[in-house]
Symmetry: C2
Subunit: 248 residues, 2 copies
């Protein structure tokens, strides 16, 4: 005979569980309101501090949002990958990952994203991609900041065409972290004009491959572009980690 370990469940945790369950089961839909803290306090028969700690947890998880002074109470939010984004971001920051590992991960994911985008894209996606590319063209004359914004839009359009929200979130996060690591070195890069032209040419090739539904080519182009542009910031001895992703 075996005994179960006794788990002391905090009061606020039980409040979290109940509200969470109500949200997931659909009893509480997005946009609806929770009772006020003082009302919840009587319903759960706990103090306001306990209620507030529970609400903080739910808020951190992205399930609710509360605005001071609003007589309608805390709002139930629609499910969004924001919380996923945040925990992913925390993990990448806390893990002290090397740039090589981040790039390796990004090359793997970006390759898959481009492959899927090429195979699954619709006409709407193609139109969106073309619009993003045109915006990048226009952005070249408006300075690097504007160009960079358009570049992000292009990447997001690819991720959307791939159609996988997990892929989108992970790519977005790791992209941000990579940029964080090299941005100071990047701003020192001399010829921003040449940089913009390089990216523009690459995105043009990628778009053509996606239009042709040539997933393998799009994936290879994407991985190669990441390597060509970022490998210089990776210590030489670690670059070998990236090579297996280039040969395929």
């Amino acid at each position: 005979m075996r005994f179960e370990p006794v788990a002391t469940v905090r009061a606020y945790e039980r409040v979290v569980q109940q509200i969470e369950e109500a949200v997931f089961s659909g009893t509480l839909k997005a946009g609806e309101r929770l009772p006020s803290e003082r009302e919840l306090m009587t319903q759960f028969a706990v103090s306001r501090s306990t209620i507030r700690e529970a609400l903080r947890v739910l808020q951190a998880a992205g399930l609710i949002r509360s605005k001071p002074g609003d007589p309608r109470g805390p709002e139930v939010l629609a499910a969004s990958p924001a919380a996923l984004h945040k925990s992913m971001h925390r993990l990448t920051r806390a893990d002290h990952l090397s740039l090589a590992e981040l790039l390796q991960f990004r090359m793997a994911l970006d390759g898959s994203a481009h492959l899927l985008a090429a195979k699954l894209r619709t006409e709407e996606h193609l139109a969106e991609l073309e619009a993003a590319l045109a915006a990048m063209h226009a952005g070249t004359s408006l300075g690097y900041a504007e160009f960079s914004r358009a570049d992000v839009a292009f990447h997001e359009a690819i991720a959307r065409a791939a159609g996988n929200p997990l892929l989108v979130v992970c790519l977005e996060v790791v992209r941000g972290v990579v940029l964080e690591q090299i941005e100071e070195r990047l701003s020192h890069a001399g010829d921003q004009d040449a940089l913009m032209r390089t990216w523009l040419a690459h995105h043009g090739e990628v778009l053509q491959a996606i239009r042709d539904a040539d997933g393998e080519l799009a994936a290879r182009l994407a991985r190669r572009a990441l390597y060509d542009n970022y490998a210089e910031y990776v210590p030489e001895c670690e670059r070998v980690l990236l090579h297996p992703l280039l040969d395929i």
Copy 2:
């Protein structure tokens, strides 16, 4: 001239930010202790309620853990994918992540992991993989639970051979979430014996490919195995999402 939107930052949020920053920057390492709530309250010059709400948020994010009565104060935790797992789990429950998308993501990641493992593996990794496979062999006669444990060990060994911690974490998380979604249907599956034999054969092939440093083959085998074993749980109309990852 443009004005910035004024963001009212709550007191507890600033506490969270400061502690978070200390953890990420390495000032606070895993295993170390935070000052007690009453001490933090004087350091941050806020009330204990505010401190507690901040600690709740950090705890929900998996950065700290506090045990009642411990005079050493709240403990700083090592980075763990638990929070990532939870937010992904929540998203799947809220129906924003279908099994097809999870599998698609897992096929992409697992393929890359196998590719990297085949290209970067050392002799130690090979030995570890062989040991894991032997454990699976032994596990077949000890029931499905034991076999499953050995199976996980094999997957982890592959991820370790690939050498990318982000890949490891993401695979681990998405693997868990996939199993959650199908476990009730899985336990009803009749012939567990045949299932175990199938996996055993597949892992043998994969190991051979990795030994031969044939990354493309290992990746293809991994993606194919995932599809063969899990696609039946995906609604037919969504299976097309997985096909582009099989053709490469």
